[in-house]
């Protein structure tokens, strides 16, 4: 017999909670944000347009930031170093919807999986995410970031089913 409290049932049914080891997503991909110049405090660094991750076509279920200890070098050309924790703790990720409203703001270091005992961060956004208007912003840069660095995000997602006529 499985006993579920009304509160747990509410959290599950409203998608506020899910099992840690549960299915992350049907697909996963890494996306990269290489820095072409020295990063500046207060500047918004927008993620590159990505037709796969644009939530009009897909539903994002988890985002992980890959730091330099998880993977030292990003597979971009020319090769760039992934950001270290000292660099990541200086900025935040801002996720926006199609009206460009910020619906989530999360410090970058909180999304590093290895610092959370291997647990990824789950999402279930209301409406749709507009990937190319999501951005990263740094609020201090005592540990510099320049054109040798790259921010790597690993995103898991489900494709939305097409409605048949």
């Amino acid at each position: 017999m499985k006993i579920v409290s009304p509160l747990l049932e509410y959290l599950f049914s409203n998608k506020m909670m899910k099992q840690v080891g549960s299915y992350e997503g049907e697909y996963t991909k890494s996306v990269y944000l290489p820095f072409n110049t020295t990063a500046l405090v207060g500047t918004q660094y927008y993620l590159f347009p990505d037709e796969v991750l644009n939530s009009k076509n897909n539903t994002i279920r988890c985002i992980e930031i890959v730091d330099s200890l998880t993977n030292a070098v990003a597979p971009v050309s020319p090769a760039r170093d992934n950001l270290s924790i000292a660099q990541l703790r200086q900025g935040s990720l801002y996720l926006t919807n199609r009206k460009r409203e910020i619906i989530a703001q999360i410090p970058l270091a909180l999304l590093v999986r290895r610092l959370n005992a291997g647990k990824v961060t789950f999402f279930d956004f209301p409406g749709t995410i507009n990937w190319q208007t999501c951005f990263v912003q740094f609020d201090s840069l005592s540990t510099g970031i320049n054109q040798t660095h790259c921010l790597t995000l690993r995103v898991s997602y489900f494709p939305k089913e097409e409605k048949t006529k």
Binding site: L11, Q19, V20, G21, S92, I103
Partner: protein, 139 residues
């Protein structure tokens, strides 16, 4: 084992202004888009300078968490989470699990932190947290 799913999130902060003193209350700064009574908070996560050095408002984040307790109040002024150690609410101290709350409308500017030990804390630093919430109409 279950973990929180982020629907919406917003960073909040409690600025250590005036003077540093044990037992003194430092209230959360106002965030206009959370002021309307249509925000239901269901999770909270604190962090220190190990996770974020400076808040988006430009304030230095506290480096220590062991001398701070947090109290959350709802819109009926009830202290539904009273003097919970900040250390307990840091995700990396809980095997990566985010603290879930019974969903309720909070009165953000009524929520506060108190200092129990001033060591490693400095005036004008901020105690930073992320709250996870949904809107009542679900949009």
């Amino acid at each position: 084992m279950n973990n929180l799913v982020i629907k919406r999130s917003q960073q909040i902060e409690f600025r250590l202004v005036g003077s540093l003193g044990t037992g003194k209350r430092y209230f959360a700064t106002d965030i206009p888009n959370l002021s309307a009574n249509n925000v239901v908070v269901y999770g909270i996560e604190f962090f220190t300078a190990s996770q974020q050095t400076t808040t988006p408002t430009g304030n230095t984040v506290v480096s220590a968490s062991t001398g701070i307790v947090c109290t959350l109040r709802d819109n009926k002024k009830q202290e539904f989470m009273y003097q919970v150690p900040m250390y307990t609410l840091i995700r990396s101290n809980n095997a990566g699990l985010i603290v879930l709350l019974k969903p309720r409308i909070i009165n953000l500017t009524d929520c506060y932190v108190q200092i129990t030990n001033t060591s490693s804390l400095n005036l004008n630093e901020s105690v930073a947290a992320n709250i996870y919430y949904d809107l009542i109409d679900g949009n």
